[in-house]
Symmetry: C2
Subunit: 369 residues, 2 copies
């Protein structure tokens, strides 16, 4: 009886598995909290204290403003654009879902890198789109030219590019993407995921007007602004495209406190700069820990560092397991040939002290397997 | 160029208008805050102080648990069921969206009452479903038998019934719905929206097991629990149906503080009872204000009262406008013949004092129009 629900044929075809297993799930399975939570690219340095206060002072009995008006005004000012070029949503995840929903019908082609953000792929599959995957470049960077060429070949509705990239941590310069855009076909929208933009070591923002009709850019308060738990992302693009989100978005879906927190976080650029400095220091220290253990790291423009374990996927997986078994939550969200790597989010000095102890032990244990 | 986006044909067909205009939008248009915010059925008495504290103490830098495990465990205990019968989402709005998405393909039939919750209709239209609407009963109650008979006639995938009902405030007894279920065809799922259940003056919960495969029940922390701004709803049903939400939901969409706040709110049943008493007192006073002005109210099992303005829709609209112009935010979310009514959410005594002054003035002004 219970299996008789008349799901749509598309829904029937979808798995009911989760793109990511959360750290809490792993903690419940091991019946112990992690000593260091360095696997979800969360920002351990946290949000601005003024953001925390704004959230604490929120009147939770009121629905949030369905237009996120004040936040959009502030974001427009911050980015030198008008509010009609901005839509706010429940994290980039939700915005990606809305975007795929309005653009991708069953059978439509979408292009991404093989090993790029699984939640984007989850949405594309969820609306019946057909994913075409392009390998990373030889140097573990996303290959913009190859992505756009593939988009032309398969007549893609969307092409996804994260810059800086997750899970590699690498970035392309804005100029490089502009050059590659020559290959972007008419009718393909570039979905530029800039979740980690504020973590980059230099300005890599795309040097094109924010209403360039070929591009939609996604940003978030979850990374450098330290508000992952609040779920606030935004998309910027041409007004005609941004307006289309009104067709499908959950208008009253934004948490009221989250809107207030994001607004306060945006206004505290001093805090942001201090976090950026701490992220940079943490990145350097993770690289140093890796180097001391004979491992190479990839150049990182994010709040995590990808470590090349120097061998095949079995060894990297063993290293991962040995690190996790020692109480440090990290992840290995890679596909071949990048699955020779593990990914470690930036941590506070005390957490990196734990990492310093754990990594050599984990490496030794993995080598003995 | 900007109008050339290759939206899906379904998305192209959808309007980009908003189901509800928020009070903040109206406040910006009039350049003044409302003196009393009694239009969105928010709970002015607010959430439990322990919920407020739990949210304030949340570490916002961490993503929320994608399984909402602790909250689901607590809800399972509270309802005497197992967690696999519960899915937590970003308010009932989001859960309705997920449900429609997994069940309704373009052209599929869905049944609801004419004048019932517009956001449900928004989702059905948004996935290409075809809405069939049944009038309210002569006594302004939802007509369960007529709804289910219509579902049989059009082979509906879903039939929507809110109990207690919004916008009327009326309720059916659980026994009445059980009797009507005789007419529910195989293959139609009853979507029982119980957002206002905790506000009912007596127990009207459906006296059937919560895993009855014919029904999915939706509940929320936005009404009696006072957490509208947090966006926490949940659905209960047979595990096979609940599991299907995993196919499409935004797994990391739940705000971390909101999960903690809802858990704390659920645990403070003493606060809930005090709010229930205050809602009842407020309902009585609104009814009394209406009566003193010669107006009839509908029996309310919710945190709002529907007032019959005693004439046609033009008069009710005039009364609404005159009340709003005097600084009291209320709504009139009705279709004929219920659009002879206005709807007023429960308020604190000070807000009802304002209402006491405003209503006779508004009535007189509406009569003079």
């Amino acid at each position: 009886m219970m299996t008789d629900y008349r799901l749509t044929s598309l829904a029937k075809s979808l798995p009911d598995t989760v793109p990511f297993v959360g750290p809490e799930t792993q903690e419940r399975a091991r019946s112990r909290l992690f000593d260091a939570r360095l696997g979800a690219n969360e920002n351990v340095f946290g949000p601005s204290p003024t953001a925390v206060r704004a959230m604490a002072e929120t009147q939770h009995w009121m629905y949030g403003d369905p237009e996120s008006f004040e936040l959009r005004e502030a974001l427009a000012d911050h980015n030198g654009i008008t509010p009609d070029m901005i839509v706010v949503g429940e994290g980039i995840d939700a915005l990606l879902g809305y975007l795929v929903r309005i653009m991708v019908a069953p059978g439509d082609a979408v292009v991404t890198s093989d090993g790029a953000y699984p939640t984007f792929n989850y949405h594309v599959a969820g609306y019946g789109g057909v994913l075409h995957k392009v390998p990373y470049r030889y140097d573990d960077h996303e290959d913009a030219v190859a992505l756009f060429k593939r988009a032309a070949k398969v007549d893609a509705k969307l092409v996804y590019l994260a810059n800086p990239d997750n899970p590699m941590g690498t970035a392309l310069s804005g100029a490089e993407i502009v050059e590659a855009l020559e290959y972007l076909p008419d009718g393909t929208l570039l979905v530029l995921d800039e979740a980690y933009l504020e973590c980059a070591t230099q300005n890599i923002a795309l040097p094109l007007p924010l209403d360039d009709p070929r591009v939609i850019r996604l940003r978030t308060f979850s990374k450098a602004y330290g508000l992952a738990g609040a779920r606030v992302g935004y998309a910027m693009g041409a007004p005609g495209l941004i307006r289309a989100f009104e067709k499908v978005r959950n208008h009253f879906g934004m948490n009221r406190a989250a809107q207030a927190g994001a607004l306060a976080a945006l206004e505290d650029q001093t805090w942001l700069r201090s976090v950026q400095a701490r992220i940079a220091a943490s990145r350097n220290r993770i690289a140093e820990i890796a180097r001391k253990n004979g491992l190479r790291t990839l150049p990182s423009h994010t709040n995590f560092v990808t470590i090349d374990c120097g061998s095949g996927p079995e060894f990297a997986k063993a290293v991962l397991n040995e690190i996790v078994a020692r109480g440090v939550f990290i992840r290995m969200p890679f596909v071949a040939p990048q699955n020779r790597c593990i990914r470690i989010s930036c941590g506070r000095p005390a957490q990196l002290d734990i990492l310093t102890e754990v990594i050599p032990l984990a490496l030794r244990a993995a080598e003995l397997r």
